[in-house]
Symmetry: C2
């Protein structure tokens, strides 16, 4: 016999353990927790995921996850539609929204260029970004991609594509500030970050 006293239990554990970062021991614990819930609760748990997969759409403009063809941010008249913040994924939109510091719109690439993982420019939403900008009325593009080799490559690729897009007017291109995180001790900051934070120092105005 298998390690599990029941085949349906084993199948449920296998499914739970297919989630990233969930080991078999944790999966068993989570499944046994579900088993202690009522039929209705387990039903609601299961349905949430099939319903998500079935009902969710991606915003036609920014490719963020949405319930509607145009997401609430792209559909809002109170947001600045001339500023586009380019991010890797949905979590990044939520993180920036939570800061309360940004009032423009987004463009969700759905990944960054990574030859190691076989992700080229065609696999992510770069063409649609260039299309959006080509229609005009964009004043600024803020690149808010991860501060990794892949993020930097993608930033540079977007820069080159915009230059070659034959735009009437090139929008301002910026990237998020890099430096020592607020609240960090210098001695625990990595050398590259600290080095760059000195090279890219900004004026102190009291």
């Amino acid at each position: 016999m298998s390690d599990y006293p029941s085949i349906v239990l084993e199948q449920a554990v296998n499914q739970m353990a297919s989630l990233p970062g969930v080991g078999r021991r944790t999966a068993l614990r989570l499944v046994l927790h579900l088993l202690r819930q009522s039929d209705a609760e387990v039903e609601a748990f299961s349905n949430a995921f099939t319903r998500l997969k079935h009902d969710v759409v991606y915003c036609r403009e920014c490719h963020n996850i949405s319930d509607t063809e145009i997401c609430p941010i792209c559909g809002s008249t109170r947001r600045d539609h001339s500023t586009i913040c380019v991010v890797e994924n949905v979590q990044d939109v939520m993180s920036i929204e939570n800061t309360g510091q940004y009032n423009g719109v987004y463009h969700v690439l759905g990944g960054v260029i990574s030859p190691m993982e076989g992700i080229g420019p065609k696999e992510i939403e770069i063409d649609s970004l260039i299309d959006r900008v080509s229609k005009g009325d964009i004043d600024e593009i803020i690149l808010a991609l991860p501060t990794t080799m892949e993020g930097d490559t993608t930033n540079f690729y977007i820069y080159r594509r915009l230059q070659n897009a034959g735009l009437k007017e090139m929008p301002k291109l910026s990237q998020i500030a890099r430096g020592v995180a607020v609240g960090n001790q210098l001695e625990y900051t990595d050398e590259i970050t600290l080095g760059r934070s000195i090279v890219n120092r900004i004026a102190f105005n009291g």
Copy 2:
């Protein structure tokens, strides 16, 4: 608007975050992982839990999780049915089975007595254990409950119940050995465990 760009996404995250030890950030990561899987894969994921809840039964003898009315262990003619190992839960059966050191049968209490959590003797499978023993033919009961106050209380309660059950012959009652774990340094072993391991020392036979 809520923190989430989509209501169905938020509902899926809520369900995932209802699992013990899964925070909202992890839940979002897991749900977005599911969203990247195929329709069939998400369907299989969801169905595994409703199917588990629907199909799983508890063994009539030992109360372990099972696909059949009598679990494979209780149904096996190659196991020693005169020895019952009393455990708290399903995971404990799996852990003991994995050691390969036990060939008897089990009795799964489904918890231990815990006045703090409102779990009394009636909430767990103690009556059915006494019934099983009263039918006779049990030589030994091994108490393999957690080495906690609740486990000790439950051990003692079972002992008293067996004494008062009017059995023709009292089975041998034992509990799992407690002491310094194999591979542990004495200096890192807690005082109570170390103290008891000296009081309850056993003969050394070369």
